[in-house]
């Protein structure tokens, strides 16, 4: 039996120093593992819900301890709005917007922002574009001027279009060399299916970017950057009255516009799994990726489903990582994540495995995902997943930019300001039985897309033997469209 004083948790208050000193002189002061006390109370922050005169919602979370501020303006409708003939148009438009706006050309815009140490830019996703600025609080007006110019007065010139498109094409060429970039492109294309708004990569394709004109960019911009689609998130050292006045002066002029169209759910895979190979000659590893139906951000099973996914692949000791990395050693890591969207979601499991273990790795991954439907989840696993998600949430509100990111997620998913509180409460109330109930329908691999990117000359035969079925070989990029 170890020293009694060492079994007390920190929450019990300061120890008796003399007792601890005595403990440290005993034969093995580390013999007894300390008892873990009850968690300290934690309530996630709730931003103030404000609004501009044109109806644009503004969420403000004041954090005055440091003179920093983070601004995010979410415009619904990102690369999902790309016309079928021009995948990549929204990303290109957004990037050209940041290359010259208002009174400033591309060079002057960048020089002005950088001179004031305002980090300004835009992130284009499938469902939204997010204008961002991180700066010293003293430079908030400058940051908002830059954002307003980009959103309201982009120049969208031919020269800027040509230059940015060349860079975007260069990014695509480089990404094609990286199997971990290629895998999500291919799975999106095949899982959502041709014609679905999420079926193409945000950066587009060389074919889709060809022939675009400033008029195309202007059309993409004018349809998306409107009050009906905007939502502003601000975190940092600024008070509400000051902020609203500054935003009103700059963003009241946003055109009214129309709401972004709902994204239809994917047709789905009904008689699968769909089995896909992509050749990557010379690769020493194979990238594995499994995509299955998940839960929408408003699905009552999301809390249980998210926790189940965490058990399977969300932490270092998750089932997938423990088996594939720690027990088998043929990978540097394996993971799974739930990705809830506004109206539907996915579960994605992924890993890169040593090429000679491709078949074994794929079998292990699939059997782990499937077996959970039968075996269910233990109470211990549930508590671990709940604790992990709680810690992740605490970390997510630990800085201005990071907190702004957490709030952007809520906006994208269509939640209210108190969602972090209700989300935490919902997850803490889940039972192990509910995890199994949420997971079991997803574990049916007949709805899954299974992808292997690797050197097919070396791995194909073993993969087809390990997972029998109709394997198809596809290219990294879709074939060029007929003109």
């Amino acid at each position: 039996m170890g020293p009694l004083m060492l079994v007390l948790g920190l929450a019990c208050g300061p120890r008796d120093p003399q007792a601890l000193k005595e403990a440290s002189t005993m034969a093995d002061p580390l013999a007894t593992r300390p008892t873990v006390a009850a968690p300290a109370a934690f309530e996630p922050p709730v931003p103030a819900a404000l609004a501009l005169s044109n109806g644009v919602a503004v969420w403000l979370l004041e954090k005055p301890e440091l003179p920093l501020v983070s601004v995010r303006i979410i415009f619904q409708g990102g690369s999902a709005s790309d016309p079928a003939a021009h995948p990549g148009l929204a990303t290109l438009t957004d990037e050209v917007m940041m290359h010259g706006a208002g009174e400033r050309d591309a060079a002057a815009y960048a020089a002005f922002a950088e001179q004031q140490a305002v980090d300004v830019g835009i992130l284009t996703g499938a469902s939204s574009s997010v204008l961002y600025a991180d700066s010293h609080a003293d430079k908030l007006d400058t940051a908002l001027d830059l954002l307003a110019d980009a959103a309201l007065r982009p120049r969208l010139t031919q020269d800027d279009l040509d230059r940015v498109r060349d860079l975007q094409l260069g990014d695509i060429r480089q990404d094609l060399d990286d199997p971990r970039a290629v895998a999500p492109w291919v799975t999106a294309r095949l899982y959502y299916g041709e014609g679905h708004p999420y079926a193409h990569p945000d950066v587009g394709t060389p074919d889709g970017l060809a022939g675009l004109t400033p008029a195309d960019l202007s059309a993409s911009w004018s349809g998306r950057f409107s009050a009906a689609r905007a939502h502003i998130v601000v975190v940092g050292a600024v008070e509400a009255d000051t902020l609203i006045a500054a935003l009103e002066a700059r963003f009241a002029a946003l055109p009214a516009g129309t709401a972004a169209p709902e994204i239809p759910p994917p047709a789905g895979i009904s008689d699968g799994p769909r089995l896909v190979l992509v050749d990557n000659p010379g690769a020493t590893q194979s990238a594995l990726r499994v995509v299955m139906p998940g839960w929408s951000a408003h699905d009552p099973d999301l809390a249980a489903g998210d926790l189940a996914t965490t058990v399977l692949g969300g932490t270092f000791t998750s089932r997938l990582n423990r088996l594939m990395r720690e027990e088998k050693g043929y990978t540097y890591g394996a993971r799974a994540s739930a990705n809830p969207g506004r109206s539907f979601g996915t579960v994605v499991a992924s890993s890169s495995v040593e090429k000679d273990s491709t078949a074994e790795g794929l079998t292990d991954m699939l059997s782990t995902l499937e077996a959970a439907a039968e075996s269910g989840f233990t109470d211990e696993e549930l508590v671990k997943a709940q604790s992990a998600n709680r810690t992740a949430l605490i970390s997510a509100v630990g800085g201005r930019a990071r907190t702004a990111g957490a709030l952007v997620r809520l906006v994208r998913q269509g939640h209210s300001t108190d969602r972090l509180i209700t989300e935490l409460a919902a997850e803490q109330a889940v039972t192990a039985g509910q995890l199994r109930g949420a997971w079991a329908p997803r574990a049916d691999l007949s709805h899954a897309l299974i992808l292997v990117v690797g050197d097919l000359s070396e791995i194909r035969a073993s993969v087809e033997q390990a997972v029998p079925g109709d394997w198809e070989v596809v290219d990294k990029m879709p074939p060029p469209r007929a003109q």
């Binding site: 948790g9 000193k21 960048a110 480089q174 050693g329």
Partner: protein, 434 residues
């Protein structure tokens, strides 16, 4: 309760409040209290890295880092991660040329457990080491090498760079990840020897940061770590200042579509004279679209897809890198010539006042942003302690950047000449070529 991080607008003073003391066995302890969130960070920094590896064991410091998670007699097998994650904690570690750093992040009620776990493996990792554990983590590390080096575009070029730039036998002459051959050669005896040599309290510094009471935690730290014995450390290698390689140009191929050139120079060690000026020079060249290289080559010139410069500051000797990826409109040789010309121009004329002001503004904001997370503060305290013996160096670190003048940047640029550079060019492999 508000964060204790201090910022005084008038004086632009910046500080991470902390206490530092040393246990009798030489373990440095640094405490940083912040009750903003119910969270703690434990950061344990060991003053050993790949520079301390012996010949034939490249990659061993990093392999050892993996083995530190493989269990002890008191907490066997996967117990370290199971116990930590079971209560909402998580951890990671990194190994570099100079150091190995372990950090645990968790809810504040887990702090005593985190300290117990770190003390436990500092005490008993070696006695529980087995061939099976070594074999498993060796496989994982070899897969890490495949994933992050061999199958990552340009990864093999980066792995080759140390050997190209440093003479045989120099502590920095091999990559941190090591070679497959050396990883395979590692034995359990190597593990035990490395542990008993370097993983001792007098070669480590412990930062505890976050939501805790310092007076309550001190006796716990003493109880868990105070009994671990100090051991004498071997003398460190004191290599001569590295010189230019005999063959300054290296041509390679890779499974890539876009070529790359990397230009490298030897430069002053971290925190030595000239180090901050080279950081400022790197920002002048490539920090932002208005920076010299990005503006001239990427934005206006259409000659490069990417251009970046960086000062990689290290204990024994640093390196300054410029990386360029050409568009189809340029060759690697053309881009290299343009970089040398730009450096010559800076050496002759220096940066403008506006450029220096931009860089200072960006540095000041980035210093602040870097301190937002508890993890970032814990890491910075330990870095300053390990590199300078002073965790409270933050204000002086910022001051050395504020003090950089145009003449300092000119002098820094003057050292980066073509005849002092090593160049590694990576070109797309032909089909079937490795």
């Amino acid at each position: 309760m508000a964060s204790l991080l201090l910022w005084t607008m008038s004086a632009h003073a910046i500080d991470i409040p902390h206490q530092k003391y040393t246990l009798d066995n030489g373990l440095t302890v640094i405490l940083h209290e912040d009750h903003d969130l119910p969270q703690v960070v434990v950061n344990l920094w060991y003053d050993v890295g790949s520079k301390d590896e012996v010949p034939g064991r490249s990659g061993f410091a990093h392999l050892f880092e993996h083995l530190m998670f493989m269990g002890t007699t008191r907490l066997p097998d996967a117990g370290f991660d199971e116990l930590m994650e079971g209560h909402g904690g998580w951890n990671n570690a990194w190994t570099a040329e100079d150091a190995t750093d372990y950090y645990d992040v968790g809810p504040s009620h887990l702090l005593e457990t985190l300290l117990w776990m770190e003390a436990d493996r500092m005490d008993g990792l070696a006695s529980a080491m087995t061939q099976e554990k070594l074999d498993k983590q060796r496989d994982v590390v070899r897969n890490e090498r495949r994933q992050t080096t061999e199958d990552t575009p340009y990864g093999m070029a980066w792995a080759a760079l140390p050997q190209i730039c440093f003479p045989d036998g120099h502590p920095y002459a091999h990559p941190v990840i090591g070679s497959h051959e050396d990883l395979v050669a590692a034995t359990v005896e190597d593990v035990v020897g490395f542990f008993s040599t370097w993983y001792v309290p007098n070669n480590a510094s412990l930062v505890v940061a976050g939501d805790f009471d310092p007076e309550a935690i001190k006796p716990i730290i003493e109880a868990y770590f105070g009994h671990l014995p100090a051991r004498p450390l071997p003398p460190r290698a004191q290599p001569q200042a590295p010189t230019l390689p005999a063959q300054p140009l290296t041509e390679m191929t890779d499974r890539v579509q876009v070529p790359l050139t990397m230009i490298a120079w030897h430069s002053p060690a971290a925190y030595e004279d000239g180090d901050a000026a080279l950081d400022v020079l790197a920002a002048l060249l490539s920090d932002g679209r208005s920076s010299r290289l990005v503006d001239a080559l990427v934005q206006r010139g259409g000659l490069a897809l990417e251009a970046s410069a960086s000062q990689y500051s290290q204990k024994l000797s640093s390196q300054f890198f410029v990386e360029l990826k050409p568009t189809p409109a340029a060759t690697l040789e053309q881009l290299e010539a343009l970089v040398f010309a730009e450096l010559q121009a800076i050496a002759a004329e220096g940066p403008t006042d506006a450029e220096l002001e931009r860089i200072r503004n960006q540095l000041e904001v980035s210093f602040l942003q870097g301190l937002e997370s508890l993890q970032g503060r814990a890491s910075r305290l330990n870095r300053y302690q390990a590199m300078l013996g002073d965790p409270g160096y933050l204000d002086r670190d910022l001051a050395r950047y504020r003090a950089v003048t145009a003449a300092d940047v000119q002098a820094a640029a003057a050292t980066l000449t073509a005849d002092r550079a090593a160049i590694v060019r990576v070109r797309p492999a032909e089909e079937g070529e490795e």
